[in-house]
């Protein structure tokens, strides 16, 4: 949920540090583990690409 909010707000872009900062504060401290940060970055990219395809 945090990741979706983060991607929708578009504050983090492709910057892993901004993703980690945006994901901090979750009850579980694993919110900014490397695998999760990578997943958020990948999802951001995939969503942007599928948006482009839809509007093309």
């Amino acid at each position: 949920m945090s990741a979706l909010g983060l991607i929708e707000e578009g504050q983090a872009g492709d910057d892993p540090e901004r993703v980690r900062e945006g994901m901090s504060g979750n009850l579980c401290r694993c919110g900014a583990y490397a695998g999760i940060t990578d997943a958020v970055l990948e999802a951001t990219k995939n969503l942007a690409q599928s948006d482009q395809r839809r509007s093309a």
Partner: protein, 352 residues
Amino acid sequence: MKNFDYIRPTSIADAIAAAAEPGAAYLAAGTNLLDLMKGGVTRPDRLVDVTRLPGLDRIEWLPNGGVRIGAMVRNADLAHDVDFARAFPAVAEALLSGASAQLRNAATVGGNLLQRTRCAYFYDTASACNKREPGAGCDARDGENRLHAVLGWSEGCIATHPSDFCVPLVALNARVEIEGRHGRREIALEALHRLPGDTPARENALEPGELIVALSLPAEARTFLAHARYLKVRERTSYAFAVVSAAAALRLEDGAIREARLALGGVAAKPWRASAAEEILAGSRPNPATYREAAKAALADAKPSGDNAFKIELAERIIVRALTLAAAGTPARIAALPASPFSSVSGALHVA
């Protein structure tokens, strides 16, 4: 948890009438108050929910160039308002350095101003605390007090005000609009929070039932927008209160400091305006020697209240660093780690 009445008035007048009863407390987002109630630290008989009051959730630009922010504007909405962040970058940076994204989405402007200290002895109902129970004593004096106040504290209380937001606000001469049974009044934010003295339970200038309805920043606060920073040392990278923080804002003309603003957070029971330092900076050249002299002046009256002498030198260093960063210019975009003294570039030196 103690039972309480919950009232959700639809007008400011009704809210003030409902909160005038003894034992009443205003509830905004509740990011602090609900925790306090669950822990039995505060035990209100009646909660007056102000989140549905009309007209308090707007950011209004005034004809004179100032801005008026409704008390129910959420921290995140204010920090991400493009016009606001451009005009008052240190305030936006301070907001984004506080709490977490989820909390910033809920927490309000008025609630931030009135949040309580995070002193662990205030929260622990088994400990003596003059703030929670006047006359009980202060267990922080002989306790874990390395994060407590170094300025303006008293024998009765050494707690600090935890807000980041308030630090640049007090530097920029923010004002607070207050409504009560006898109408509306306005005071400087600097006059809102009180030092503990002999009455640490009396934390602010509000009379019973008075409600903060708005906060305003004057037009002249925008003249610092090109050189304004907030810097905050935390015990972990993110999601932590300040050990020490500083807001620095400069107006540079012809290579000299025409006017300076400086305030500290995490050092006292109120956001601490460093006026003596501002006077030293005004008219001086922006260089490290000037910054160090200003920092010494800002902490001239500081004294440790426990195992926290380190905070005095830390505050001096944070002032020098904040002034250096402010003089270098407000960055085009707020850093990935807002207000952090640490570089987000891996391998960079943190102590340069």
